[in-house]
Amino acid sequence: MAGFIAIIALAVLVGAVLLQVVARYLFASPPSWTEELARYAMIWAGLIGATMSFKRRFDPALFASDGSSNKMMAVLTGTIQSAVVIIYLTPILWFCFFGPGNNPARGFLLRHSRTMTDTLGFSTIWVAIAVPIMIVIILIHVLARWAGDDNETARSVTPASPDSADT
């Protein structure tokens, strides 16, 4: 499902930018919405991509997490790994719905629901919502790891997987 959304978003991104080039040379003035559409497609593709990268342990790490034969050690490192993800993402998820002082009227999503895109004629909440969706999916992957989803992938991929540095 995540892969499907990412492919669609990427296709929209490529299509919108290509349309912009074609239109620049075919019509006197290119449509003004292509750039904004491309940017929003990129945000969707990237945030959904972040969940896929997490699931595949593709995010660069300083040290490999495998290679520990000690069961105690494995539980300890697994706990720390899950803890940093939860510590980082939970407050951000919370503040998608609440503002300072836990005021629901000033939450991130509600604020976006009242803001229009520049050219596309819909509310920016349809882009902003990708943020909490990304967080929820990653938190589900964290749970799934403890449920034993992770057995093969953890061993087959080095966490410091260099592919992640696209340089």
Binding site: P30, G99, R106
Partner: protein, 305 residues
Amino acid sequence: TEVKIAMNGTDDPVTNAEAAFVHGFADALEGTDFKAVVFPSDTLGSEKERFDTTAQGLIEIDLATVSTGVGMSPLLKGVLLPFLFKDSDEFDAVIAKSDLLEQMNKPLLENGVRLAGFNYIGVGIGIHNSQHAVTKMADLKGLRLRALNPEQLEYEEALGASGTIIAWSEVANAIQVGIADGYLNPPNSSLRTGHTAFLVHFTPANISPSTRAVFVANDWYETLSADEKAQIDKALDAGIAANRAWLTDWSTKVMARMKEAGVTISQLEPGEREKMVEATAPTWKTIMAPDALQKYLDALKTVKN
């Protein structure tokens, strides 16, 4: 307590008109319990982001481009309309003598932002280009001007030029390789960026005042006592006064600076600005809702009488 002021420019009151506001504001708070702390150069985020954190009451004061507020308060669009105001004095008079500011504020306040007033960053917007002197509207024909947004694109075309939307970071490149021939900006834009090296023609046209907004976090403001509110209001007025003093000083120097930078200044021939007003007036209605536009026209009428 700290009053955080976030801005996109540098904290240099000599070259930056918004920094002049900041220092006027900060000085006026001397002797109160408030202390202004400035966060220059987008350190607290880009335009949209600063606006958003102000709406949450986390930044007390945000010096922002007017267009960030347009998404919540469409009435603000009028400030950006081409050739609606004769000059910045007329704009100031309209804001002072009408209830427009109050009406602009209505949807903003619901979202936690209060528009306290406007800063200028320089003299009015004129025509920069790399090709030839522009003294008549007809001279714009054949020039491809960079557009900031669809609204600007529309009125550039109404003026007889062609337009193309280009991100600011690619503007220098685009003009030098010929994707665009120029842009509509106040003269300090090209002075600050060194674009004067290739944008060698400038025509002052007062297309619109080069206005930016002063947004105050309303959630914070409403927690203040009546005395404290008065102190902040006074400081805001002092900041805006410092900004206007800066502008007066700057307007005596700016054309000399442009000439020093090698730019040819061309004045519009008599009657040409009127032609431009006439050509672009129809775009007002497409840029803005008719009833909102009417509010500006009514306010202008009272000022002109």
